[in-house]
């Protein structure tokens, strides 16, 4: 019994090692083929950019043979903190100007970061809008269960700004930790309406309907997406071409497709 277990363990270890070796071999042979030197661009990007950036990453690699784009997706706050602490990244793309400023003030961004896209709130409701919700005011109607983000997190702060602009005080059934939590409540039918971003509505592929409202563009309600080259990057030129690519035709198309407003 015991020897059999040990044999299985060794076989498993060998398999893992083998895989690791093949993986190394693969990347080596890839670079030998091309004339262009192999380079890796590391992009630290907000989690809400995941699908757009992954798509753009593939397109960028195709346009720049020999280049590998590596992503580090996460919360904007922790990404900025990582860059401040000296984590290796060439590009920083956060989901708020405030988090970008943390990196700028620490002297970690080359020049001025540019805001290339914005994202705004929508009211997520069930498909076909059974409760007939057309405005923020409608969320206060009796019998409408609404859900928002907690004011302490960015989407909650945005919701609060929109409420203020509309002169409405919502009484949500729950204040979620993040926007996906809100979306989930609406998708499972436990809430009638939730304040989420346009991109979140799009990402459900029709599982929820988005209702736009004028106060979504109020000051403090709009989420901006700044991007900048990290100071000390070994690939500053490549980092700049990534930023140009994201702001170029392909980038703009992908961002708009996902529901962002591009600048």
């Amino acid at each position: 019994m015991r020897t059999r277990f040990r044999a299985a363990l060794m076989a498993g270890t060998a398999a893992v090692l083998g895989l690791a070796l093949t993986a190394c071999g693969g990347s080596d042979s890839g670079s030998g083929q091309q004339a262009a030197p192999a380079r890796t661009l590391t992009v630290s990007a907000a989690a809400s950019l995941t699908s757009v950036y992954q798509q753009l990453g593939t397109e960028f690699q195709n346009a720049n043979p020999g280049t590998t784009v590596k992503f580090n997706f996460g919360g904007s706050d922790s990404l900025a903190q990582q860059v401040v602490q000296g984590a290796p990244a060439d590009v920083l793309a956060t989901a708020s100007s405030k988090t970008m400023q943390t990196a700028v003030q620490a002297g970690k961004i080359q020049g001025e970061p540019v805001v290339y896209a914005t994202n705004s709130l929508q009211i997520a409701v069930a498909p076909n809008n059974p409760k007939g919700i057309t405005s923020l005011q409608d969320l206060t109607k009796p019998g409408v269960v609404s859900v928002v983000c907690a004011p302490a997190v960015p989407c909650g702060a945005a919701a609060e700004a929109a409420e203020k602009a509309a002169g409405v005080t919502l009484t949500p059934a729950s204040e979620e930790q993040d926007v996906k939590g809100v979306l989930n409540r609406v998708q499972t039918g436990n809430a009638d309406a939730g304040l989420v971003y346009v991109t979140d509505v799009k990402s459900t592929n029709g599982a929820v309907t988005g209702v736009s409202f004028p106060q979504a563009s109020a000051q403090g309600a709009v989420q901006s997406y700044p991007i900048g080259v990290v100071n000390g990057s070994q690939n500053a030129d490549l980092a700049q071409s990534w930023i140009n690519f994201v702001r170029g035709q392909q980038g703009t198309a992908a961002l708009q497709q996902a529901g962002f407003v591009t600048k």
Partner: protein, 258 residues
């Protein structure tokens, strides 16, 4: 006389103890002591503490009322399929609480079979209510009481009950006058464990009940939210939770030793 512990056990034993002790000690060091009192007495923090204690007690009562009888059935009856029944009861011990919360949501949510019925017929919505918190906590805490009580019942054996029965006591009289007094320590420590588990419950609660101050935002949910914006507040309240947990353990252990 106590048996001697082999020397080679000391090092891993010490490491095991340190694995728990050092992070907790680190928490104590990280606390912003000058502002501690202010941080733990904000209205939001007090509301969370109060909700946690209230729902924890309610959970304990529910576990006693329903888990107690279940433990007696598991320990004393000869139902067919008893092992199967027992494994189902133990499931929440192994399942990630988030999974528990999702299953509750699919059953009792507004679109679920039970929740949908209650919503349509009686206008009762379970998610987002304090009742949902208690339900989620009872789901995860129940096995703690059932396991301790069943163990106590099996250790106590059936001799006294058999004697009581031969003396003409009805099954109900035997239960109240013989069984319950004999397993009282087990019942107590099981209840305290269930209370403690309810106090620390997070995943099932946030998935099923949501998070709203005073209604569903218990202490663990409050700490999770605070960690997004005010780390000092989160650390301070974590320490409060640690102190409450230590008190609970001390209370339950002293009973065991007696």
């Amino acid at each position: 006389m106590r048996t001697t512990v082999p020397r080679f056990l000391w090092v891993p034993a010490a490491l095991a103890w340190l694995l728990v002790a050092i992070p907790v000690a680190g928490l104590v060091v990280r606390v912003d002591w000058p502002n501690f009192l202010g941080l733990v007495t904000t209205p939001s923090a007090l509301a969370a503490l109060r909700l946690s204690l209230e729902t924890g007690l309610a959970t304990m009562v529910l576990c006693l009322l329903f888990g107690g009888p279940l433990a007696v059935v598991l320990a004393r009856s000869s139902l067919p399929g008893l092992p199967f029944i027992r494994s189902v009861v133990l499931l929440p011990l192994v399942l990630p609480p988030v999974v528990g919360g999702l299953t509750l949501l699919f059953l009792f949510g507004r679109t679920g079979p039970v929740g949908g019925f209650l919503d349509r017929e009686f206008g009762i919505t379970i998610p987002f209510s304090t009742g949902a918190v208690v339900l989620a906590q009872t789901f995860v805490a129940m096995p703690f009481l059932v396991v301790s009580l069943e163990g106590a019942l099996r250790t106590a054996g059936e001799r006294y009950e058999a004697v009581a029965a031969t003396l003409g006591a009805s099954p109900a009289t035997t239960l109240w006058r013989v069984t319950v007094p004999v397993v009282l320590p087990g019942l107590m420590s099981g209840s305290v464990l269930a209370f403690a588990r309810a106090l620390g419950e997070f995943g099932a609660t946030i998935t099923f009940a949501g998070s709203l101050e005073g209604t569903t935002r218990t202490l663990p949910l409050f700490i999770y939210l605070e960690s997004e914006s005010d780390l000092d507040g989160a650390v301070a309240m974590s320490l409060v939770l640690v102190v409450v947990a230590i008190l609970v353990i001390v209370v339950s252990r002293t009973r065991d030793l007696r």
